[in-house]
Symmetry: C2
Subunit: 575 residues, 2 copies
């Protein structure tokens, strides 16, 4: 592609609208332009990167026998009422009426639509297993769309759905998809981790997230280098601690005045005790009434883990009014002593003594508190978020390490969550009617490109992995008005093209500085520079974008050497 | 692809929901399923056919230097207000509000969105010409969606937009696109005609439609075999007739009673005169007030031609009240004599005598009327729809023939209709600011597949042209429980695949009758049948779907011969 005939408007400055690096670089590199909040145009360069991702996905989906379909963007309300999500799915589901006054929505995900299709066409166990996927535009009316393609309202997603006779079959489909996802992100040249994850709004029995590792990631994940265990921080478990018997609290709990001291930090500073000796008492509302959850002051509670530990469906922080009703005291001074609601506590509180708790009255705490002696705990559970250094829950020797990542893929075992209410059934070998067992599997295509940029960039711009790079080679003649340079450039361009190398040929009438800056910005893996100086020696300069390594190549061999480099790079990345 | 692992639910019976043949066959062949009115799932087979069309389009767009982008489905109202179409575009524009209460619509076409993108990025004449295209889902809230993918509400479209410095450049872009469209439909193996067309809601100065010829087409087109002239019936012109002086009307107009006789047919039968001797007087409202338009009773007026002839922007048939006011008589008895509004007439009325006209009073007509003597005509124009046999307007010898077609592509010269109100300007060579001159170009992808089926089918099912066929070969073993058949089928399947032939292998445990019926229904160009009978002689049976021609081929050579046949077929079609 000749740059002069391409539509590739680059920006010299960071645009004000962008907060994160991938958003900034995608705007600067002319990959995207904003149309409205969370809604973008994909320009030719951006679309090329997206298509590379889509093609890798498509090949890996086809490899595991998944079949491509295309479902509508506009979905009738009836289907969402059948599953119950018309009411459950908040305002992210954009609802509207057509000219006939009938209710529709823009599909944010397609479990209902695919279940509807499949229930009408499958009859017997012979029609199963079945796995369908699509690569398609979706819409979620995010309250705060941001970070460009990272959290857009309109976005391209690959979503797949599996249909099996039983849990065993569903597990197999899930494993196939898990492995396909691993291959996809490997082939795309990304450093990533697969983590156990929460099932959230989609529902189902278990799920894994595929996280691209990046300092700037929104998600935190915990992983064990020893055994490979990894989970989203919300869900990550730890080994149950050994309980050492502590010295009993010297005395009974004693009331101390702590005027205006509500937070752990305030109380810790005021009383001169470590945060780890303070017990945070959090009041929640649940479908079984209010409960109190206790964790150490230096820890953070995980609502996902608390819900799971207690088998709760509904969990919400109590408001001030409820706290006053339940504890008798205001927000910030809650404590477990004297509470008439169930109290659960984190493992780290087992057997602790000489602790500080809220006194359930304004401006007061109790010190010298001993868990078990001064109040009763219904049970001890793993309900806090893990910290770096916590022991791994799966192996004996490992410890957990926290890192940041960007969720680019998410796979779910759905069980019969959709097939049962929507009547997606089949006749088994014995002629008995059963609901199909489903799984669903998503990859955010635009988000994968954005995540690759968060992971791969430097101060000069993008550093694309070759599998996702919109072009493989950037051909940069320093001065096209120099006849030898012009001739050599045009010839090399044709040679590269005829070898099937994807080349962006900077044939613009621009200053060399502009061209070099754009070449770095666009992140194309191999730059070939033709200058008067090196041409005199019959050579071209190769520069690897990623390593910034530079070397000279005989001009005669340049096209072939470039081709070899590209293939080696692709092979290495895929291996 | 093994049929047993494919998702290809065929139907034996014509579904009740379908009226036209392509809709019926696409449902029966498991290509599409209805989700809601005018909204369809594309199943794997349907999607494969769509993708073949998309790929041909993409190659031809790339060949003329058009660059692929992807614009949003959800568009902000602001852009449509700038062009004025937020108010002009009727209810087909589906409008809604997001969670923040802001107005959006689903894009039915993307002139505004692309003009917005381009105006922000182009600065000077050096950025032009530019041609951008996308292949994307669109939504039009049709009042009566019907005929499956032929007139769906949600549909896939290729839309391209060209941007030039001046009319000359725009004409060149238009010609390039015209030729690309010709190549696209030729490569897809379709019989089609390019016709001059009306610009309608899109606006602009001129346009052509690409019509796939089919008996069942909704559109009528007129064409001249001698010189190639072709136009949509609404717009088709004819040569101005030679005027032979007729014998003057024997007497002055004479009033005859025609009780209840309103239509040409009724008056003709009642008075015993040919319809060609009756003058239809049609009253219209226009921006310049009411007018009367006269045509012969055996002809049909073209409102498009009338508007063009008189340079009108607004034209609407008058209602009964207006007719009574303007003519003094009721609907069905209007005539030109004594009218005080402008009267225009079709060429065929020049110099006619002894005609019948309405008397502008209930239940009465005038006979013996002579045009020019008994009433004045402001002007004679070509304002009727042409008929078969009318002389061609472009060449001396040809006559027009009417045929039916399906509009699959439409190209428009837009001029500055969008660039002017939206401020898409550039600096020309002299540093003067000018609006870019635009063109827009659409192909309905799903509609092209449907049109191919309307053109290519027989009583047994679809007859796909090879370029659009979801598979090239249908491999049909008659009885897989016969070990020799099984072995030969599996081997041939692998051989075909390794030669790159796209093969659907009917490995189902079904009766031969079912397999043969499905093979015909799906319309795959080459069927290879393996039966006990022919295998005994070491042969396979080839059958060409289109010609129903059958011949035996040595089993050893079957894969190679199939490959050759496919390539020849592709070559022939492309030539």
């Amino acid at each position: 592609m000749r740059y002069s005939r391409y539509f590739l408007p680059t920006l010299k400055e960071d645009p004000a609208e962008a907060e994160v690096i991938s958003h900034k670089l995608m705007l600067r590199a002319g990959m995207i332009r904003k149309v409205a909040s969370g809604i973008y145009d994909l320009l030719p360069l951006g679309l090329r990167a997206m298509r590379k991702v889509e093609n890798v996905i498509r090949e890996e989906m086809d490899r595991i026998g998944a079949l491509e379909v295309l479902l509508p963007v506009v979905l009738p309300a009836e289907l969402w009422k059948e599953s119950g999500r018309w009411d459950q799915y908040g305002k992210e589901l954009l609802r509207f009426k057509d000219r006939g006054g009938r209710d529709y929505c823009l599909g944010p995900t397609h479990e209902e639509a695919i279940t509807d299709l499949v229930r009408r066409e499958i009859r017997s166990y012979r029609d199963l297993p079945l796995c369908l996927y699509q690569i398609q535009v979706k819409f979620r009316d995010e309250i705060r769309p941001r970070f460009g393609l990272m959290r857009a309202r309109e976005f391209i997603m690959k979503d797949a759905y599996s249909f099996d006779q039983d849990d065993e079959g569903a597990d197999k489909s899930y494993r196939n998809m898990y492995e396909a996802y691993e291959r996809i992100f490997q082939r795309l040249g990304l450093r990533f981790k697969v983590v156990e994850a929460d099932t959230g709004l989609i529902g189902g029995t278990s799920s894994h997230e595929f996280m691209v590792l990046a300092q700037t990631g929104e998600d935190v994940l915990a992983s064990c280098e020893a055994c490979g265990y990894a989970a989203n921080l919300e869900l990550a478990e730890r080994r149950r601690p050994h309980v050492f018997s502590e010295r009993p609290s010297p005395k009974s709990p004693e009331l101390v005045l702590t005027p205006g001291m509500r937070t752990v930090e305030e109380v810790s500073a005021f009383l001169g005790v470590e945060p780890s000796r303070i017990i945070k008492t959090l009041i929640f509302e649940t479908e079984r009434g209010p409960i109190a959850a206790l964790i150490r002051g230096d820890h953070e509670l995980s609502e996902v883990k608390l819900k799971k530990a207690l088998g709760l469906k509904y969990l919400q922080m109590a408001d001030e009014k409820t706290i006053l009703e339940v504890t008798g005291g205001p927000l910030g001074f809650s404590g477990p002593i004297g509470l008439r609601i169930p109290v659960v506590a984190d493992w780290d509180l087992i057997g602790t003594t000489d602790m500080v708790v809220g006194a359930n009255r304004e401006d007061a705490h109790l010190v010298g508190v001993q868990v078990g002696r001064d109040f009763e705990v219904l049970g001890f559970f793993d309900i806090r978020k893990v910290s770096s250094g916590d022991p791994c829950p799966r192996c004996e020797e490992g410890v957990l390490v926290l890192s940041r990542g960007i969720e680019v893929g998410h796979i779910f075992k759905l069980g019969t969550k959709y097939s049962e209410p929507m009547g997606a059934v089949f006749l088994d070998k014995d002629g008995k009617e059963k609901p199909v067992v489903m799984g669903c599997y998503g990859i955010g295509v635009g988000r994968t490109v954005a995540a690759a940029i968060e992971q791969g960039h430097d101060q000069d711009g993008i550093v694309f992995p070759i599998a996702m790079a919109p072009f493989e080679v950037y051909l940069l003649p320093v001065n096209l008005s120099h006849p030898e340079t012009y001739k050599a450039s045009e010839r090399l361009y044709e040679e590269l093209r005829s070898l099937g190398v994807e080349v962006l040929y900077d044939d613009r009438d621009e200053r060399p500085g502009v061209k070099f800056k754009d070449a770095d910005l666009l992140g194309i893996p191999l730059r070939i520079t033709l200058s008067e100086r090196t041409l005199k020696e019959g050579r071209a300069e190769f520069r690897i974008r990623k390593t910034r390594e530079t070397f000279l190549v005989e001009l005669e061999e340049a096209a072939l050497r470039a081709k070899e480099w590209v293939e080696r790079e692709k092979g290495l990345v895929g291996a």
